[in-house]
Structure formats: structure tokens, C-alpha cells
């Protein structure tokens, strides 16, 4: 027993010299949570996929300011919106170069053809490229762009015109989203000709701050800093490496040891130790999300406002935030986070009041022991780290007012499908903001047209719906803001949901990392980031 052990110890000791911490100068290593499904951002919806392609390799016509929901010019230098709000004319930036990779050498600069190709592919199912590389574009459908964009026309080499069927005030915000990344039509043509159209998902070519170099599934993704990047000074790294590290505890160990500079999704339980570590810094920001409990207003007795009010005021939100979010969350009052413009600051939650809740129920004629179903999500989400525990706490709260909650859960896909169908009485779910537009909270989750879809409360209230439908067609932000504030008031009076929390996003990184900004959209962007 002694001998092999000693040999082993010796062997380990001999190996000690071999590589540990990373030595090269300006290489930033990001410990990411998983492998991207591919590198064509239009095909996917998850942050893991967008970080590895849209945020690194690609640009969009307009883009979100780093760390903000405001948009700034991207590949379009400026744009013009017609007075009826149906035509958008973009003037494109000149002198922007697509990446040169081992598979592709661009012969020309970025121009209108690239924009036309990028969008035609998304909205036209019969586009030759879609025939050669069939794929779904879930976001395009979800945002209604495939039906609302009537035409994408090249006016001249540096001007593109979009024609819409109906006014969409969030159109520009939507164009800033990852799925609207601009692909090279020259690259696509060459792929089509060589019969390798599917490669667009494996060997991305864009105009963005980092050039894709290689990808080893479940291991790493390598990028080189784009030396010719058109936004001068934004690329301060020579190399960017994603070290794919699925386990959060292991990511933390790697961060501690200096095997990576920055990591995704820390475990709430590790935060305290991270904050105490002198080599690390852990900035945080209110998450751009909301976790809520939707009441199915089509089911009795939840169709009565008094019952919803009673259930709402019987929930001890503070206790939930302490136990479920472990402090990494803030109570939600509105159906959108405070960082969203048009957030109504005047609204307040009703006080936590068991006695009043009881009397409301009694007045509504709800007998003690009435059973309602309470659905708990089977998965962990940024807006709800532990739905099962949350459901149990709500169950206990409701028991105090004589309501018997029966906790129900299904597999995630099934859960959402049944929820959209309205099979539940009450249901825990949530939303992450996509594009920084108020309609992306109120319209998508509470509008009448979303009943049968994301409107889990099955709530269709005329006054509220009229406001948000009208606001969609106005391009003036101040005017829209007023309408959304009013809509939030109605929401609060009608209680289709109990808004529970906005989770706080923590971003652990080593102190050497400079200039990193937390994205409201949970994306990881490394342009503008440097190493000390």
C-alpha cells in the first residue's frame, strides 16, 4: 500500500511545474456556464448562445449601450422614420470590414446587401439559404417581425429601407437584439455555392469586436481581438477565451485560483465568501426580470378581485426574498423592473395583512378550506432560484387565511404549455426583459392578444389593453411613458399577479478586470473591457 501511494505522490510532485495560472498578457478568460448550441444567433433564445456569437462576433444595425437598455447607432450610422411610422430608412456605416478567417476572405466592405440578406433569411421561409440550411428563428416569430416586416430594400449600397405593415414603437429596440445580428451575404453565398450552408452555425463571420477562432465542445471557445474593429479603442484584449465550466462551485474555484478572470452565474451561497476575497470584486445590479405568481382570472374564485387581493396581501414577500433569493433580490411592486423606462414609481404594495385578507375572503363568500392549485416551476431561473420553496412558503401563508393550496408541477416545456392553456389556478413563472421596451413587459405578458400565450393570468382588461395597444403605435417616448404608467396603475388595482421579486445580478470577477459592465439583458460583453 505504501509504495504505490508514495510513487503517486512523487509523480504528482513532479508534475507541479506544469502550467497553472495563465501567463499571456492580454488574454481574458471567461468561465462560462455551458456550450452554445451554435453560432448563428437568430436560431436561439438563450444567453449562453448569444454571448458566444452575437456579443462577440457580430454587430447589429443599432445596438444597446453597454450596461444599458438605451440604443446607440451600430452598423447603421443614422436612421430616419417616416411620419406614419411605417418606413425606416437606415444609412449604413462605411468602411466596416467583415472578419477574415481561414474559411473566408471578404472582397468588399459591409454594405446594404448584407443587411438585406440578414433579414430576408429571417422573414422569408423560402429564401434559398433556408432551403439549404433549414432552421427555426424563434425570436423573429415571437417579436412578430416575420409578419410585420413587409419589405427590406436596398436603396443604394449604403442605404436600406424597411417597410412595416403596422406601426411598432419597439422596432428599433428589437433590431438591437442579438437575433438581428448582421451576417455577411458574401460569406453566405460562398457557403451556398460550396454546399456548406450549415456552416453558418459553426464558423461565424461577422463585423464584431472579436474574431471567432475555434470551438471545442464542452471545453473552450477561442476568439482573437479584432484589430480592425470599426469602433476604435473598444477592443482592448488580444485574446478572449470562454472556458466552459458547467458547475458553479468549480467556476468559483477557478476564479479564486486565477484560472479565469470572470465567471457567470455564481451560486447565492458562495457570494459571501466571494465578497470577502481580496482578489475579487463582486459588483451587482438589479436584474432586468420579474418573478411573479399569476392568478388565472378565468377560474373561480379567482375571477373575483377581492379574492385576488386577499391572496396577494397574505403573502409574506419579505420572508420569501430572504429565504428563496437569500438576499439577492428586491421585492417587486410593478410588472417590470425599476430600471425600465416608464416604471411607475408611485405604486405601492398593499400591506401584509392576514386579518384583512381573511375578511375579504369572507365577504367574497370563499369558505375556509377552499382548495386552489399553486403551480411551481421545475427549473431554476434568474427570476426565481427555487420555485418549490417559494410555493411551499406561499402555501403556508395562505393556510393562515384558510386557503388550501395544492402544489403542482410538470416538466418545464409541459408546464409552460399547460400554463398557456390556463389549466392552473395560480402559477409561479417570470420574465426576463428582451429589448428594454415597456411593451415587452406589459404587452407580451398582460395584453389581450397574449391570452392563450404568455398571459398566464388569462387576464384581458379593456382599459389596460387599449392603453398598451395605443402606446405601441406612438413613437414619442414621453407620451408612451405616461400611458404605460397609467397601465401599471390599472394592473395594480386589478391584481392579475402577485409580483414577487426582481433578482439581483451579481458579477464576480478578479480585480484585474477593468471596465466590465453588467448587462441588463444578462449578456456578457467583452468589448471595452481590459486587463490591468
Amino acid at each position: 500500500m505504501h509504495t504505490p501511494l508514495r510513487t503517486f505522490t512523487l509523480a504528482t510532485a513532479l508534475l507541479l511545474g506544469a502550467g497553472s495560472a495563465f501567463a499571456a498578457g492580454k488574454t481574458l478568460i471567461y468561465c462560462s456556464e455551458g456550450s452554445p448550441a451554435g453560432f448563428d444567433p437568430a436560431r436561439y433564445t438563450a444567453g449562453t448562445d448569444m454571448d458566444a456569437s452575437a456579443e462577440t462576433v457580430f454587430n447589429r444595425l443599432v445596438e444597446f449601450e453597454r450596461g444599458s437598455t438605451q440604443i446607440r447607432p451600430g452598423l447603421a450610422e443614422k436612421w430616419d422614420i417616416s411620419s406614419d411610422g411605417l418606413t425606416y430608412t437606415f444609412t449604413l456605416r462605411r468602411g466596416v470590414k467583415f472578419h477574415t478567417t481561414p474559411n473566408f476572405k471578404p472582397t468588399r466592405d459591409f454594405n446594404a446587401d448584407d443587411v438585406v440578406f440578414s433579414f430576408q433569411r429571417l422573414i422569408d421561409k423560402n429564401h434559398p439559404f433556408n432551403k439549404a440550411a433549414p432552421a427555426e428563428y424563434p425570436y423573429v416569430t415571437d417579436m412578430g417581425m416575420d409578419s410585420n416586416i413587409v419589405a427590406v430594400e436596398k436603396v443604394d449600397a449604403n442605404t436600406v429601407r424597411f417597410k412595416l405593415k403596422a406601426v411598432d414603437a419597439a422596432f428599433l429596440q428589437n433590431l438591437a437584439m442579438s437575433f438581428a445580428s448582421i451576417q455577411s451575404s458574401e460569406y453566405a453565398d460562398s457557403l451556398l455555392k460550396s454546399g456548406k450552408a450549415a456552416q453558418i452555425n459553426a464558423q461565424p463571420v461577422g463585423t464584431g469586436p472579436f474574431v471567432f477562432k475555434s470551438y471545442q465542445k464542452d471545453s473552450n471557445i477561442r476568439f482573437d481581438g479584432n484589430k480592425d474593429y470599426w469602433r476604435k479603442g473598444e477592443v482592448q484584449l488580444d485574446k478572449l477565451i470562454f472556458a466552459i465550466t458547467p458547475d458553479a462551485s468549480v467556476r468559483y474555484q477557478k476564479l479564486q485560483k486565477g484560472e479565469c478572470h470572470i465567471m457567470s452565474f455564481p451560486k447565492p451561497a458562495d457570494l459571501k465568501a466571494m465578497q470577502g476575497n481580496a482578489a475579487l470584486t463582486v459588483p451587482n445590479q438589479a436584474g432586468f426580470n420579474v418573478g411573479f405568481l399569476a392568478y388565472n382570472v378565468k377560474h373561480k374564485p379567482l375571477d373575483q378581485l377581492a379574492v385576488r387581493q386577499a391572496l396577494d396581501m397574505a403573502i409574506n414577500k419579505k420572508a420569501i426574498i430572504d429565504a428563496v433569493y437569500q438576499g439577492a433580490g428586491q421585492p417587486a411592486t410593478n410588472p417590470m423592473p425599476p430600471t425600465q423606462w416608464s416604471y411607475n414609481k408611485k405604486l405601492k404594495d398593499p400591506a401584509f395583512d392576514v386579518a384583512k385578507a381573511k375578511s375579504l375572503l369572507a365577504k367574497a363568500g370563499v369558505k375556509e378550506g377552499t382548495e386552489i392549485t399553486l403551480w411551481a416551476m421545475p427549473v431554476q431561473r434568474p427570476y426565481n432560484p427555487n420555485a418549490k420553496l417559494m410555493a411551499e412558503m406561499i402555501q403556508a401563508d395562505w393556510a393562515k387565511i384558510g386557503i388550501k393550496a395544492k402544489i403542482v408541477t410538470y416538466e418545464w416545456g409541459e408546464y409552460l404549455k399547460r400554463g398557456k392553456g390556463g389549466e392552473h389556478d395560480s402559477m409561479l413563472v417570470g420574465w426576463n426583459g428582451d429589448n428594454g421596451d415597456p411593451d415587452n413587459w406589459l404587452g407580451v405578458n398582460l395584453g389581450c392578444s397574449a391570452v392563450g400565450g404568455n398571459n398566464y393570468a388569462q387576464w384581458c382588461q379593456k382599459e389596460f389593453n387599449d392603453l398598451i395597444v395605443k402606446a405601441r403605435t406612438i413613437n414619442n417616448q414621453a407620451e408612451r411613458s405616461k400611458m404605460y404608467e397609467k397601465a401599471q396603475e390599472i394592473f395594480k388595482q386589478e391584481v392579475p399577479w402577485t409580483t414577487i421579486a426582481h433578482s439581483t445580478v451579481y458579477q464576480p470577477m478578479r480585480k484585474e478586470v477593468q471596465g466590465f459592465k453588467i448587462s441588463p439583458f444578462n449578456l456578457m460583453s467583452f468589448y471595452g473591457v481590459s486587463l490591468k
Binding site: M1, T3, P4, F8, T12, A13, L15, L16, A18, G19, S20, F22, T27, I29, G34, S35, A37, G38, Y44, T45, K125, A133, P134, E136, P138, Y139, T141, D142, A198, N201, A202, K217, D218, S219, N220, R222, A243, I244, T245, P246, D247, V250, Q253, K254, K257, E259, Y410, E411, W412, G413, E414, L416, K417, V429, G430, W431, N432, V444, A450, N454
Partner: protein, 336 residues
């Protein structure tokens, strides 16, 4: 001999069919489908859903889907991953070498150590050493792998700084995957220090993955040795005045090896399938983690293909072991 191999092969075909049916049935029995999961919390457009399900062929009756899958298989086509749009075979064989490399390293760690521990415990039966070794083996066998891996990382990587935390090689080396086996690829590349770095990264995962096999082998060796040590020919050898070492190594261990080899063969299956946790902890890009992800995403072709390929590997290893038995022991070869 030829007849024996043929007989074994005849059994393989129905087993193979059984695996395809089972893999197909099991993954389709789990509720949810890949399109629902792709859309997630987003709005589900019924048209979009219909079109996507149609493109993936998932709107057809199950028996037809199975038939298409089988006919694809006969032409050597395991399908394309729904999630990544890559051929399943390509994905599998990109990742498989990493799993094999890790499994071999784990066995290399577990086998000699397990044999020695078992022999030592058997020859000192009933003493403190025996109890100590068997206690350790039992602990190793029942250790939660996730916890064990994290503990080793915390001690050896973070505290002592002896080993890297995770990955297959330090990221400063960008090694081209020629064979997929990192140790071989690093030797083929000209990068200095790459091989050592790869070896260095292999140590902890191999120990973690090898812990359970080590315990199993140690316990098996001990009991097999105890049985053999009671045999008459051992007493004869002692009476002949042979040295203790010679008796144990030449006469006892050799005869005790037969059941131990069986157990080692069985462990291959366990390792291939059971590397999931180790691969997750150590960010090891192998097939275990890939298969779990595919199940989570309801990536039907990947799950079916992955199970089939792993099943085939295990069948092949078992076939090889059976044939080897036949070679070693003619009594087995002739038994009908």
C-alpha cells in the same frame, strides 16, 4: 473457436435492436419536446410550432418515426442533432476520446492500487490493516462523487496549488485535436510543456472517477484471495518451503485474478456511463455530459444515437471479454 464467436454475435443482434427500441421509447416517454424547450417562456406561435415539428419529423406517428430512425441506422445514419444541427456521429466521436482517455486513466489508477490493497487486506485478514483497508474501500464506494471531487479540488487545487481546477489542458495551449486523445495530441504537437500540462490536468479527475472501481477491485481481490489461500495447493506450496511472496504472487494471486478480471471488465461499462458527474465537475468534454444535456433538451437523435453507441461499445467490450475467456479457459469455449 469460430463457431463460438458466431454464437456470441448472434446474440448481439437482438440486443442491439433492443437498445434502439428502448432508447427510442424512453426518450419519447419523457414529457415535453425540443421545440417547446427552445421557445421557453417566450410566446409560442402555433404556426411556428407546427412548422418546426414538421421539419423535425416529430409530427408523424411514433411507429413511423421509429421506422425512419431504424432505416437511417441501417444506412449508417444516426441523424442530426436538433439543437446544434450537427451529425450525431460527428459530435459523439469528437467527445468520445475524452471519455475513453479519462476512463483509462481512472482504471490505470484503480487497478494496481486495488489489487495491492486487496492482497494486503487478504494476507493480513482480521488485523487492523485489513479493517482499515476494507473500511476505506467501503467509504470510497459510498462516497458522493460530486462532493468528493469538490473536496479534492479545494484541497489540491485551491489550497495546496498542486493541480489545476478543471479542464483538459492549460488554456495557453491551443492543441489541434488530431486523435482526440489529449495526451497523444500534445505529443504530436510541438508545443513545449503541453504534454505535462495535459497529464497534470488528468490527475484529479482520474482519481475521482477511479475511486469507486478502486474500492470494488480491492474488495473483490480480497475475497478472491481469501478463497484461494484456503486451497490445498497453497498449503502444499507452503509445505514445500516456498517464500511467502512467491506463494502470494505466483500461486494465489494468479488464480484469484479470474473473478477480478471479470469485475474490471464490468467496470468499463460503469466508467463509460458513469463519467457524467466527473465530467461535469472537471469540465471534461466527454460523452457523459453531452448525453445528459441532450436528454435535458429532448434532443432525440442525440440521445438515441448516444445510447446506441455507448451500448454498442459495452456490447463489444463484453464480447471481447467472452472471447478472451474462451481463449483462456477452454471449458467455457466448449460449453453450449
Amino acid at each position: 473457436m469460430f463457431g463460438f464467436v458466431l454464437r456470441r454475435l448472434a446474440v448481439v443482434i437482438p440486443t442491439f435492436l433492443g437498445i434502439t427500441l428502448l432508447a427510442f421509447a424512453l426518450i419519447h416517454m419523457i414529457p415535453g419536446d425540443p421545440v417547446l424547450l427552445l421557445v421557453g417562456e417566450r410566446n409560442l406561435d402555433p404556426e411556428f410550432y407546427k412548422a418546426a415539428m414538421h421539419r423535425l419529423g416529430l409530427d408523424q406517428p411514433l411507429y413511423l418515426q421509429y421506422w425512419h430512425y431504424l432505416s437511417g441506422l441501417l444506412q449508417g445514419d444516426l441523424g442530426t442533432s436538433i439543437r446544434t444541427h450537427e451529425p450525431v456521429v460527428k459530435e459523439f466521436f469528437t467527445l468520445f476520446p475524452a471519455t475513453v482517455e479519462l476512463s483509462l486513466a481512472a482504471m490505470l489508477f484503480a487497478t494496481p492500487l486495488g489489487l495491492v490493497a486487496g492482497v494486503v487486506a487478504a494476507t493480513r485478514r482480521g488485523t487492523v490493516v485489513d479493517h482499515g483497508v476494507m473500511g476505506a474501500a467501503l467509504t470510497g464506494y459510498s462516497m458522493p462523487i460530486f462532493w468528493w471531487g469538490l473536496m479534492l479540488i479545494m484541497l489540491f487545487s485551491v489550497h495546496l496549488g498542486w493541480t489545476p481546477v478543471s479542464g483538459r489542458i492549460a488554456l495557453e495551449y491551443d492543441i489541434e485535436a488530431k486523435t482526440g486523445f489529449m495526451l497523444i495530441d500534445t505529443l504530436l504537437s510541438d508545443e513545449e510543456g503541453a504534454f505535462l500540462s495535459a497529464l497534470h490536468h488528468l490527475v484529479l479527475p482520474a482519481i475521482v472517477l477511479g475511486t469507486i472501481p478502486l474500492a470494488v477491485i480491492a474488495r473483490m481481490t480480497r475475497s478472491a484471495m481469501l478463497e484461494v489461500l484456503r486451497e490445498d495447493y497453497i498449503r502444499t506450496a507452503r509445505a514445500k518451503g516456498l517464500s511467502r511472496l512467491r506463494i502470494i504472487v505466483v500461486h494465489a494471486l494468479r488464480n484469484a485474478l479470474m473473478p477480478v478480471v471479470t469485475v474490471i471488465g464490468l467496470q468499463v461499462g460503469t466508467l463509460l456511463a458513469g463519467a457524467v458527474l466527473t465530467e461535469t465537475i472537471f469540465s471534461w468534454p466527454g460523452v457523459g455530459k453531452w448525453l445528459i444535456d441532450a436528454i435535458g433538451q429532448r434532443d432525440y437523435p442525440s440521445v438515441q444515437g448516444g445510447i446506441l453507441l455507448i451500448g454498442t461499445m459495452i456490447i463489444l467490450v463484453n464480447l471481447l471479454v467472452d472471447v478472451l475467456y474462451g481463449v483462456i479457459n477452454p471449458r467455457i469455449r466448449h460449453a453450449r
